[in-house]
C-alpha cells in the first residue's frame, strides 16, 4: 500500500462521527489522519487552496470516489470461519478474504469449530492464524459452555484475556435455564455480551424448514416460529433477572421482533441482530428442495420478513450480521433433511442491505450504523469507524453497480447461496484493510 492515500470526493458516511456528506479522507501509514468535508464549514473552504500536490509526494495514491459512498469497513459480528476442524468448508484465509470482498473488515467467528473454541488455546490458535493468514480483523467468540454441550460454563475469563469479545453456543441453544442464568450473571464480570441462539430444540427437533402449509406441502418436518419465540422470551426474562448483557442472534420471526421491542420499551439491556436472508427471502426459496435455502433458524413467511424489516426500521433490531455459514458442495448435495444448515453470506450481504436502502426501508446512514457502529459498540471494539487515528479500514460502495450473483466466483469456499443468479444493485468496489487496497472492479 502507498504511504499516503487520498480518497477524494466520495460521499462519506460514518455514523460514529455523524458524518454524512461529500469529502476527502486522508490516509497515512495505514491510519486515517484527516477527513475534510466539502460543504459547510469555513475551515474546509480554507483548506481548498492547500490541496495535496500528488506529484511531489512519493508513494502516493488518489482514489477518485466521485459518485461513490465511502464507509467504514463493516463489522460482521456473526460468522463461521470453520477453522480449526472444517477446513474443507472454509479457512481463516479464504473466509477473511471473502469478507473483505464483501466490504467487511472485522469479523467475529463463532466457536463451533473442531475443537470447539471453549478455551484459550483454541482462541490463541485462531488469532495466530488470523494474524498470519487473515485479510481482515478476526475477533473470536468463545463458547458459553464446554464443548458447547450445555452442561458447564467454559473459561470465559481466560478466553476474554486471550481476545474473545463475546460468548455464544451458536448453532445450539443453551437449553438449561439455570446455566443460561449463570452465564448472563458470570459474564458481567468481564462486561461482555452473551449471544443467544434462540431455539427450543424440543419444539424444533427433526424439523428442516419453517412449519406451515408449505412444509406440509413439501412433506418436510417443520420448525415452528414458537421454537424461536419461546427462547427469546426466556432469555429476555433472564436478562431482566440478571442484568447481564444479552444479544439475540439471527432474529427471524414476527414474534421475536415483538418480544424484543417490548423488552426494549421496558428498558431491558438487550440487543438483537438479523441477517440479510431474513429480510430478503421467505420459505418459498425452499421449494424444489433447495438445500442452499436450508438455514437455522429457517426462512419464514412474508409476515415475518415484514416484521424483521420493520424491526430494523424502528431500531428494535440493532445489527445486521451475515451468519456466514459456508459448507462444502457435497454436503449440500444431500437429502434435504440430512443437508447441513447455512448460507455463505459474505459476498452478498452488503448488496442485500443496500436493497433495503433502495426500497426506502433504511437510509444508507442507518444501514451503515447497523453494520459498523452498533456491532462495534456491542462488542466493545474500536472498529467500524473513520475517526482520526483509527486503522484505515474502509469500503467504497457503488450504489449503481449491478451484478449477477455467481457462486462460482465467490472467494469463499462455501458456494451455498439461495441468491444464485439474482441480479443485485449496489456493491463494494474497493476495500481497504490491513494495509492493502483491493479493487474489485478489476475482476468485473
Amino acid at each position: 500500500m502507498p504511504d499516503t492515500i487520498v480518497i477524494k470526493n466520495g460521499h462519506i458516511i460514518d455514523p460514529s462521527q455523524c458524518i454524512d456528506g461529500i469529502g476527502d479522507i486522508f490516509i497515512e501509514d495505514g491510519k486515517i489522519v484527516r477527513i475534510e468535508q466539502k460543504s459547510g464549514s469555513p475551515e474546509a473552504k480554507k483548506k481548498k487552496n492547500n490541496d495535496f500536490r500528488s506529484s511531489e509526494l512519493p508513494n502516493f495514491q488518489i482514489i477518485d470516489a466521485s459518485g461513490l459512498y465511502v464507509i467504514p469497513g463493516l463489522v460482521d459480528m456473526h460468522v463461521h470461519l470453520r477453522e480449526p476442524g472444517f477446513e474443507h468448508k472454509e479457512t481463516i484465509k479464504t473466509g477473511t478474504l471473502a469478507a473483505v470482498k464483501g466490504g467487511i473488515t472485522s469479523v467475529c467467528c463463532m466457536p463451533n469449530t473442531n475443537p470447539v473454541n471453549d478455551n484459550r488455546t483454541v482462541t490463541e490458535f485462531i488469532l495466530r492464524k488470523a494474524y498470519d493468514e487473515g485479510s481482515c480483523n478476526v475477533y473470536p467468540i468463545g463458547a458459553i459452555t464446554k464443548g458447547q454441550k450445555g452442561e458447564e460454563l467454559a473459561e470465559m475469563g481466560m478466553m476474554r484475556e486471550e481476545g474473545c469479545v463475546a460468548f455464544s453456543d451458536d448453532g445450539v441453544p443453551v437449553a438449561n435455564g439455570i446455566l443460561m442464568r449463570r452465564a448472563l450473571e458470570y459474564s458481567k464480570t468481564f462486561n461482555v455480551p452473551i449471544i443467544s441462539h434462540c431455539e427450543d430444540v424440543s419444539l424444533s427437533e427433526g424439523g428442516s424448514m419453517n412449519e406451515g402449509a408449505l412444509s406440509t406441502q413439501l412433506g418436510l418436518r417443520g420448525i415452528p416460529s414458537a421454537s424461536e419465540d419461546v427462547m427469546v422470551a426466556r432469555d429476555i426474562i433472564l436478562a431482566e433477572l440478571t442484568g447481564g448483557r444479552l444479544h439475540i442472534a439471527h432474529v427471524s420471526t414476527e414474534g421475536s421482533v415483538r418480544l424484543i421491542r417490548q423488552a426494549k420499551e421496558r428498558g431491558v439491556n438487550i440487543t438483537a441482530e438479523t441477517c440479510p436472508h431474513y429480510f430478503t427471502i421467505t420459505e418459498d426459496a425452499v421449494k424444489g428442495y433447495n438445500t442452499n435455502a436450508k438455514v437455522n433458524p429457517p426462512l419464514r413467511r412474508q409476515k415475518d420478513v415484514e416484521a424483521v424489516t420493520e424491526g430494523l426500521k424502528d431500531g428494535t433490531i440493532d445489527v445486521i450480521a451475515t451468519d456466514h455459514a459456508p459448507h462444502h458442495r457435497d454436503e449440500k448435495l444431500l437429502e434435504f433433511d440430512n443437508a447441513p444448515s447455512g448460507i455463505s453470506g459474505f459476498e452478498t450481504a452488503l448488496s442485500l442491505g443496500i436493497g433495503l436502502v433502495n426500497a426506502g426501508v433504511l437510509t444508507m446512514s442507518k444501514l451503515i450504523e447497523k453494520t459498523t457502529l452498533h456491532p462495534a459498540k456491542i462488542l466493545g471494539i474500536d472498529k467500524g469507524t473513520l475517526k482520526t487515528g483509527s486503522d484505515a479500514e474502509i469500503a467504497i460502495v457503488d450504489m449503481n453497480k449491478e451484478f449477477h450473483v455467481r457462486s462460482e466466483k465467490f472467494v469463499s469456499k462455501g458456494r451455498n447461496t439461495p441468491f444464485e443468479g439474482w441480479k443485485l444493485k449496489g456493491m463494494p468496489v474497493i476495500t481497504i484493510c490491513k494495509g492493502k487496497v483491493y479493487d474489485w472492479r478489476i475482476d468485473g
Binding site: 406451515g212 406440509t216 413439501l218 412433506g219 457435497d330 448435495l333 444431500l334 437429502e335 433433511d337
Partner: protein
C-alpha cells in the same frame, strides 16, 4: 412426462390417462397369460432405502408383467450412515444403464432430487412424509371402480395425516377431482392443509357421518409414547373404525386401507373383513396402476 415424483406435479388429464390405461392392464391381469411385451428390453431398478414388502412386491410384479428386466437394490440404512452419498449411489445405478428408477426413501424430496440428476424415468414409491403417488392412483382407481367417479364424493381420511404420505397424495388427487375431503384424527396428527379445502374433524362420530368412502391409515406404533396420543387403547376408543361407527357412513360406503393393517388399533377385524371393505381390491389394482405408470413414462429415451 419423464417422471412420476408426486400427484402435486400432475394435472387431471395426466391422472385420467393413467387410470384409463390401468383399466386396460387390469383386463390383461384377468387373462390366463398375464404378461405383455410392452417394455421388453427395458431395465428397472427398485431402489429402496426403506424397508417395504408390499409396495416393492407390487412394483416388481408390475415390472415383470411388462417384461422388463428387474434389478433390486436395497439400501437398508440412509446413505449418510452408509458413507456413500445419495448422488453417488444413484449415478452408480444409472451407469448400469437402467431405464426406470423406482425409489423409496425416508427423506422427502429425494425422488425430485434424483429425477433432476438422471436421464432414467424416476417413479416415487414413497418419500418421507411427502407423497406416495402410485398409492393414491390405485386408491382413485379402486374408488372409481366401485363408485363410478370421484366428483362430489364425501371421503373421510382417518388417522395420522401428518406423517402419512399416502394421505397427502390422496388429498392432492381427490381435491383435483372435486371430492369433499374430511380429515379425521387427533389434533396432534392433523397438519395445516387449509389450502386444499379440507374439513377437519377430531371426532369420528362427526367426521364419518354420511361419507361415501372411508380411508383408514396405518398407525405407526412408534408415535405412541412420543406425545401424539397416549396409548393404542385410547386411540382405538376415539379413532378406531368399528361396526358401530361404520354405520354412521352412507350405507354403501366403502372402507379402504393401504396396508399393513393394525387390527384392533385403527380398524376392527369385522370391519376389515366386511363386505364394505375393498382392501384386497386395492392390492390387485395396485399392479395394474403401476403397470400403467411405467408404460406411460416409457423409461429413458435413448435418443434424447
Amino acid at each position: 412426462m419423464k417422471d412420476l415424483v408426486g400427484i402435486k406435479e400432475l394435472d387431471r388429464d395426466d391422472i385420467e390417462r393413467i387410470l384409463d390405461t390401468a383399466a386396460s392392464f387390469k383386463d390383461v391381469l384377468k387373462r390366463d397369460i398375464k404378461k405383455v411385451p410392452a417394455l421388453r428390453g427395458k431395465t428397472v431398478v427398485n431402489l429402496f432405502f426403506e424397508p417395504s414388502t408390499r409396495t416393492k412386491t407390487s412394483f416388481e410384479l408390475a415390472e415383470k408383467r411388462l417384461s422388463t428386466d428387474v434389478l433390486n437394490f436395497s439400501v437398508p440404512t440412509s446413505s449418510v450412515v452408509k458413507g456413500e452419498s445419495l448422488l453417488d449411489t444413484v449415478r452408480t445405478i444409472e451407469a448400469y444403464g437402467v431405464d426406470f428408477i423406482v425409489i423409496r426413501h425416508s427423506s422427502s424430496g429425494v425422488p425430485h432430487f434424483i429425477a433432476r440428476n438422471v436421464k432414467a424415468s424416476v417413479i416415487n414409491a414413497g418419500d418421507g412424509i411427502n407423497e406416495h403417488p402410485t398409492q393414491a392412483l390405485l386408491d382413485a382407481f379402486s374408488i372409481v371402480e366401485k363408485k363410478g367417479g370421484l366428483n362430489g364424493l364425501k371421503v373421510a381420511i382417518v388417522g395420522d395425516i401428518t406423517h402419512s404420505r399416502v394421505a397427502k397424495s390422496n388429498i392432492y388427487l381427490l381435491s383435483k377431482f372435486g371430492a369433499h375431503i374430511r380429515l379425521v384424527g387427533p389434533p396432534t396428527l392433523i397438519p395445516d392443509m387449509a389450502d386444499h379445502g379440507v374439513e377437519v374433524f377430531y371426532s369420528m362420530e362427526d367426521g364419518l357421518k354420511n361419507v361415501d368412502v372411508i380411508m383408514m391409515l396405518r398407525i405407526q406404533m412408534e408415535r405412541q409414547g412420543k406425545g401424539f396420543f397416549p396409548s393404542t387403547l385410547e386411540y382405538f376408543r376415539n379413532w378406531g373404525l368399528d361396526t358401530q361407527r361404520l354405520k354412521l357412513a352412507d350405507k354403501d360406503a366403502i372402507v379402504m386401507h393401504p396396508g399393513p393393517m393394525n387390527r384392533g388399533i385403527e380398524i376392527s377385524s369385522d370391519v376389515a373383513d366386511s363386505g364394505q371393505s375393498i382392501i384386497l381390491d386395492q392390492v390387485t389394482n395396485g399392479i395394474a396402476v403401476r403397470m400403467a405408470v411405467m408404460y406411460l413414462l416409457g423409461g429413458a429415451k435413448k435418443d434424447a
